[in-house]
Symmetry: C2
Subunit: 410 residues, 2 copies
Amino acid sequence: MGTVVIKFGGSSLSTTDKIKNAARRIIAEKQSGKNVVVVVSAMGKTTDQLLTLAGEITDHPAKREMDMLLATGEQVSIALLTMALTEMGEQAVSLTGWQAGIITEKVHSNARIVDVKTDHLEEILNDGKIIVAAGFQGVTEDGEITTLGRGGSDTTAVALAAALKAERCSICTDVTGVFTSDPRYVPKARKLSAISYDEMLELANLGAGVLHPRAVEFAKNHSVPLEVRSSTVNEEGTVIEEEATMEKNLIVRGVAFEDDITRMTIFGLKSEITGLPSVFSTLAENQIDVDIIIQSQTDSQTNLSFSIKDKDRQEAIDVLERKKDAIGFDHIECETGLSKVSIVGSGMVSNPGVAAKMFEVLAENGIQSKMVSTSEIKVSVLVDSKQMKPAAQYLHDAFELGALEDTAAK
Amino acid sequence: MGTVVIKFGGSSLSTTDKIKNAARRIIAEKQSGKNVVVVVSAMGKTTDQLLTLAGEITDHPAKREMDMLLATGEQVSIALLTMALTEMGEQAVSLTGWQAGIITEKVHSNARIVDVKTDHLEEILNDGKIIVAAGFQGVTEDGEITTLGRGGSDTTAVALAAALKAERCSICTDVTGVFTSDPRYVPKARKLSAISYDEMLELANLGAGVLHPRAVEFAKNHSVPLEVRSSTVNEEGTVIEEEATMEKNLIVRGVAFEDDITRMTIFGLKSEITGLPSVFSTLAENQIDVDIIIQSQTDSQTNLSFSIKDKDRQEAIDVLERKKDAIGFDHIECETGLSKVSIVGSGMVSNPGVAAKMFEVLAENGIQSKMVSTSEIKVSVLVDSKQMKPAAQYLHDAFELGALEDTAAK
């Protein structure tokens, strides 16, 4: 009997009515003749409530205790969802992270899964019961409770699917699948029936927000077929799988965008050799993510530009200014209110004209690109935030993403 | 270095401010040079909130899932209290029931502790750290999460104290100790400095409500010195220990009472031999606790009276009527609105006049006793609820509980 893993996020479980809906969806899957493993996040606002309590006690909670606290969120969800399944006549068993054999490294708040012990899971599935496992959490070999950090529940689902050799891992969420762009901004955006891991990785990293890149990467490495689908609407979602299974590729598969970006420029860097590493290690030590980086040389000096999130701007300035002498630079300037617009598609790699066409489209429409970054399957540009939405629409039109039938994965 | 176990109940942890207060109390104990193990219940109303969620999903939750759900309550408490201790500069480690090595039998919702594995606990204490353990919960040898039922956190505290050979187990609660009677009803009630396990057992069973009888019994069996004290007021509590350590006993140590009691009488029981066991097994199967039992014989028939809680009355009638033919009886009558008033004291066993004096005092004051029950160290009577408070006061005065200095345990 084939096994499927189904993951429900917190917003799909925010009320007991939604939990009952999830239970119905799960039972339909079970009745189609599958072994079913469900992975859940904490209910709706639970995590926020727990964080508020911790915040009333300390500004610097020990990470171990934070994990202990937050792990209760999914434990509530698994118990309630299992009660709902039982109430509807199905046999189901809830399992915490440690009971589900999710072994992680000895790191709190952001642990990676190192092993999944499947004996107990297989026993329960062989008894014909549904497993409801807590996402986001695991246990070290020493018996310490850990959490997996951002995207943790998606990662748990993929890890269980890989360990149990599941035929599919379905991520049930607020949207019905992966779209060519965000339909709230680009009305012609269309749901894709299939997309490759790499394309999804770029889209996930670029703020599409449907699926955490970490989970996509895990799925790619273990060849777990992923599906993104709605937790409420019963329609086909988007399948994420190896390139090879798709007969034909669109050159550009989607347009992603992300708001609230700052471009920071450090002028007059004294030494390229020591200056660059010390800038980025300083930022990394302070958990400030840097995205696009550009280094430019004028006659007399080296300037360094990079993009960060608006929310990190002040801290970035503070930590760099504190190390000004050690790093060795003249001054810092910032431009805020920027957005990143990206085109993604694995067909790009063999089409060198794609980036050129992108710049052309933007230029024709009077949109200035402030920074550019490329990978084999995406091109990103920073633009003024006011131009984010029109830029996305022009690009969506120019690459004919809305017009085409989605035949790529047929 | 001596070890002490300190238990805080849910009402002592209902807000983050109260959690900080508990932390201060714990640190004072630690700084007096002790190894400290703290046992906590779920915060204030947490359990009720969880029960409400479960109730929205099903009227008959699986006990296993209920344990899974409720066990999150203490896990939140241990994390927050440990954060508070760390914030105040102490090294502390939170442990769930399974992490604390609390092994129970394979029963959900009402499991008994069968073992405490102390290796990990001793390691942490030897490192000079405070342990904050979740009360009320344990784990089976198979790794199933269980809860201990009523009085569970008190029992966890005593079990840890016994396993770690602690010099004391302090139960921190809403009151400052064990009183000769409930001060809300008997203004002259006085705090006892010491009381024996057996006396405390009778008082606990009789509704004094300070300490669960199960925990007292566990403490008695393992000779764990117990102390009941306030979680907020810093004053000596009441020590509960073996008789032998007390030089002198009051004949009567306290007056306890309990409201909302029904006397149920089954008339015309056909057969004493089969009727009695089937009545009480029927009630037991339906989790209806019976307290005082009186069997009376008239010329022609056997009648059976017993006391139960008012809340169980209708169910008791229903289940007995359903089995009327099997049990064999004529009809049932009930008298509701009764209360139980009891005098407790280990000196009683060698003073046969105590019961007589009790009846005398009640009679003199026009209080009719409707049922009587005695043990070696207590006498209980059922009276009309309106007379509960005066009865308690008359008895408290008659046995001079308020007048005497409490020299019993000096």
